[in-house]
């Protein structure tokens, strides 16, 4: 057999062997056995001395091509086997993604605090300070400074927990109005403040009453604030809390520390004003009380009521949360059942 034919045979069998290999090790062995220094190609080329000189370059080229072809066949097969190997490994590593996660819990803010903070941030955006005030307050600030003197019938509406005859658990966050007004430096601009916090009433706890609950009082005093500003401010608030399509309406009311006083209704967010159970078929829901600061309240803080005016409003986070999330029993807020608390994850 000529050297030429021998090399061609080696190529044919080498490629064939590579194609038939099933494991990477076989290919590695094939490479060493066929192409190595002790391999048959090298061995065959030792017969080159018997080849006429003029034919030698041709044989040399052929030998190189044979090596290259076998190499290519091995590599091709190697790649194929590797692909299979990876595919098998991936298959083996496949997991059930529906199995439960390893919990990484973030706690849930109490829904009342979420509600309060949402409203606080709304007003901060409008340039209001947040001033929490005192839970134990003087009769003077809780009542007298709000135009509610001793014996005023409004004191009946707010049964009060007294600590002494002059000290009490505040019944309203409006109690902070007097303190905010008297300490404000009007040369530095208007007074714009909200006072969120806990208030107390001498009430029996039931589904709609709690002896402790929250309020947010809002107050703006400046030379140029009006009922129209009150309406615009509360319109913006109600749209922020209850939805961009909400309308509000004012109804005349009475609070000793505002004149005029109004109750504020928001158009029903459930039925859009058509009438439903939530709005008692009126299309409107009462959400807060407000008004222009009574001149007496301004004057008692040393503010000239012929020059300055104030808008004041007070709202109840419990009521807001009850309306917005359909909470039917105010006591749920204070029982702190974690199943109740956690349902408000991320609502605000």
């Amino acid at each position: 057999m000529s050297l030429n034919d021998k090399l061609k045979d080696l190529r044919a069998s080498g490629i064939d062997d590579a194609k038939r290999a099933e494991r990477i090790q076989e290919l590695n062995d094939l490479r060493v056995n066929l192409l190595g220094k002790k391999g048959p190609i090298t061995k065959a080329l030792r017969g080159m001395k018997d080849v006429p000189v003029e034919e030698r370059p041709e044989i040399g080229t052929l030998a190189n091509n044979v090596k290259k072809d076998i190499q290519a066949a091995i590599e091709e097969k190697m790649e194929e086997l590797n692909r299979k190997l990876v595919a098998k490994k991936l298959e083996e590593e496949t997991i059930d993604v529906t199995l439960p996660a390893q919990p990484r819990k973030y706690g849930t803010r109490h829904i009342l605090n979420q509600t309060i903070e949402d409203i606080e941030e709304f007003f901060i955006g409008l340039g209001y300070r947040v001033d929490a005030g005192h839970e134990v307050e003087e009769d003077h600030y809780n009542f007298e400074r709000l135009n509610i003197p001793q014996n005023h019938p409004a004191r009946d509406m707010q049964d009060t927990f007294y600590l002494t005859d002059q000290l009490l658990m505040r019944t309203q966050t409006s109690a902070q109005e007097g303190r905010d007004m008297e300490s404000h430096d009007f040369s530095k601009g208007p007074l714009k403040v909200i006072s969120p916090g806990v208030v107390y009433r001498r009430d029996d706890d039931d589904a709609t009453h709690s002896h402790q609950f929250h309020q947010i009082e809002g107050l703006v005093v400046d030379k140029n604030v009006s009922m129209a500003d009150l309406k615009g401010t509360l319109e913006a608030l109600c749209r922020h809390v209850f939805g961009a399509d909400r309308e509000i309406r004012f109804r005349p009311s009475y609070f000793p520390f505002t004149e005029p006083s109004v109750e504020v209704d928001v158009s029903c967010f459930n039925c859009g004003g058509e009438g439903c159970r939530i709005c008692k078929y009126t299309g409107w829901i009462e959400v807060l009380g407000a008004g222009l600061s009574h001149p007496n309240v301004l004057e008692m803080s040393g503010i000239d009521s012929t020059v300055y005016s104030g808008i004041a409003f007070g709202l109840g986070p419990e009521r807001f949360a009850m309306l917005k999330y359909g909470v039917n029993d105010i006591r749920d807020f204070y029982l702190n059942d974690v199943r109740f608390l956690e349902q408000f994850k991320g609502v605000n």
């Binding site: 340039g127 134990v136 500003d229 309406r249 009475y254 956690e342």
Partner: protein, 809 residues
Amino acid sequence: MKISVNWLKEYIPVTHTVEEMANKISLTGIESSPVHNAEGLDKLVVGHITSIAPHPDSDHLNITTVDVGEDSDIQIVCGAPNVANDQYVIVALHGAHLPEGKRIKKGKIRGQESNGMICGLDEIGVPTKYVPEAYHNGIYVFPEVVAPGTDALTALGLDDDMVDMDITPNRADTLGMRGAAWEIGATYDEKPEYTAPSIDESKIIDSNDLTVDIENKELVPDFLVRTLKDVTVGESPLWMQRRLWNQNIQPVNNVIDAANYVMIEFGQPIQAYDLDKLEEKHITVRNAKSGEKFSTELNNQDDEENTNTILNKNDLVVAAGDQILGLAGVAGGISARVTNETKNVVLESAVYDGAAVRKAAQRHDLRGDASNRFEKGVDNGAVSDALVRATQLVDENAQASEISDELVGIATEAKPTVIKGKISHINHLMGLDLSAEEIMNIFDRLGFTAELDNDDVTVTIPTRRWDMSIEADLVEEVIRIYGYENLKGTLPTGMETAGGYSPKREFSNKLRNILLGQGMNEVTNFSLMNKKEAEDFNVINTNYTKLLHPMTEDHEYLRTSLIPGLVNNVAYNQARNNNDISVFEQARIFDRADGVDRPKEIEYIAGAISGNIALDSWNTQSKQVDFYDVKGIVEELLSFTNIDANFEYHATNKISNLHPGQTAEIIADGQSIGFIGKLHPDYQKEHSIDETFVFELNVDTLFGMEKRNVQAKTAPKYPSISRDLAILVNKDIESGAIVKDIFDNGGKYLIDVNIFDVYQGVNIKANHKSLGYHLVFQNPEDTLTDDTVEKAFDVVKDSLVQKFNVEIR
């Protein structure tokens, strides 16, 4: 007060439904709702009994024939004891609907045909307490002739449509029909018209049997009386009775009814007395003597034994000598009550101090229609007119022979209030730009007289609107009549203000977020707790603050710690199988110093963790919370305070209700800032909760502490070198002390010390423990040499041997 549309029509035209009116009045002035009476009732007519005969088979039934306005009379069997011939009565015809779904059908009663039912008022929906006494146990008999076949509901006024006005305390001017007509009239731009009350001049005599003396003039600005002689007391005319029961007032007789009627008409309570029952013909209004007794209808109806109210010297009474005629402005007594036998009558129209009436009514639990009006105020310009009106009505219905002149005990001139304002300022406060004409027109609609002088307006307010006193009141009147719905919302303009939280609130928000990040749920508890809870965790050792008049023992003391509330939360949840609980609260506690009444309010943050912090699952094992888990949370929280101090954990057994061996007080800069600990097993048992760890930190103290001033350092470029140190030491020596000593002696390149092993037990010397520490050295500016580290390490070891007698292993 419920405003009857039929009555209202006497004063103003009414063209709207009660629904429309209620809505409009609510938006303009007073919260109102529509009322439809007698809904669903039908086939009720007036009948005239034309014959009556006993039922042959019954000893209490009668067979009547009744003219019901049809071609022939119908036969009705009636069991009422008061049925009689020639009565005009209420007949429910065959097919009639009565309240509560009751239906009347013709049939036979003991063999006798009965084609309907003769009814009592209570059977057609009038509550028994408003039915005249005479008809409580029987049928109602019309006091006058009414055409048979007339709709009985109309004849009785029971189908009157009404608007129920729920007034705010400042609008008591509408607690009378005339005032209400003014209000509704202003809403619809209709001026009410009234007929002035008048007395038959020919009967007036100018002598008087009575004298009146007002002792306490401060509380009684007006007190007027008139007497009427030889009256015939009896039943009031139907038109008056029906207006009374529609106001939830029981008709009694034509004197008392007239007094009540005037109260509804004018808003002015009127009191009537039997002149002949006065023990002296001298009426005084005075303070009661302590212990004096007084009986009234208001409090003796339900409770026979409690017929006497014991008075005290704060009570103002109307008296004739020692005889108490009434508790002024609150209730008339029974001693001089007008009855059917009364011949001579005294009528009183007075004004009493609102606060005094309110307190007396509260004190004796006697709130009623009269006290309700006096407490909120009455129109002192109408006191005399109301008395004239009451006198007129008594005379018309009970025919007096003589009427006395008005006897004035005291009278205060009723002056209209004059309010000065500026059109521009009124507009300014409203945020509107109404013309002076528009504003003047609104004043006119309200019946105010106004004079304009350029921008200045002077408004004279009639006495019926005593709630009006200042310019702001004018603003309210103008804007509500103009209509709030016409007001366009704007936002306050003016100098920019920087809104925001207080720095302390920012700080506490940050702390709260750390705990949320640790997976803890936020709770909200009550500030008021019971005595035991207050005592359980008085860690700050403060004086308790107690309510003067608590509602319940459960909410009597102001909290001195947030822990009891959190323990309640754990207990509440674990009782409901929410076993793994991790909760916190950020709120105030109350710290009261010796000798002061007012407690300081201090912000605290506290947490409680109970049960597992990792759950058993398909790939994990559960882990119960332990001290070090909670300490980890607290440390992370404290590291976020940015406080420039080291936090030390000092073991303490001084906090009651915490485990004496698993509690640490946390100290920073020498001051206590809080604690971490496990609840005492006894305390856990008492509350039926699992092992629970708690912590509590004083936010105010943390907020006040100096903060780190962070100046950036580049991250180190040179490698660190570490050494491990294993020691054997007496078990009572705290790791904290050893770590501190290592830092004290490790030189400036020692940057970190971690404990990697704590072992006690087998193969360890008795009363000793083995501790392993990992020390890390680094020079930020250069590569450290082993030599340098070795030297520092030796100093550390030497010091530990000397100070703690450790054995280096």
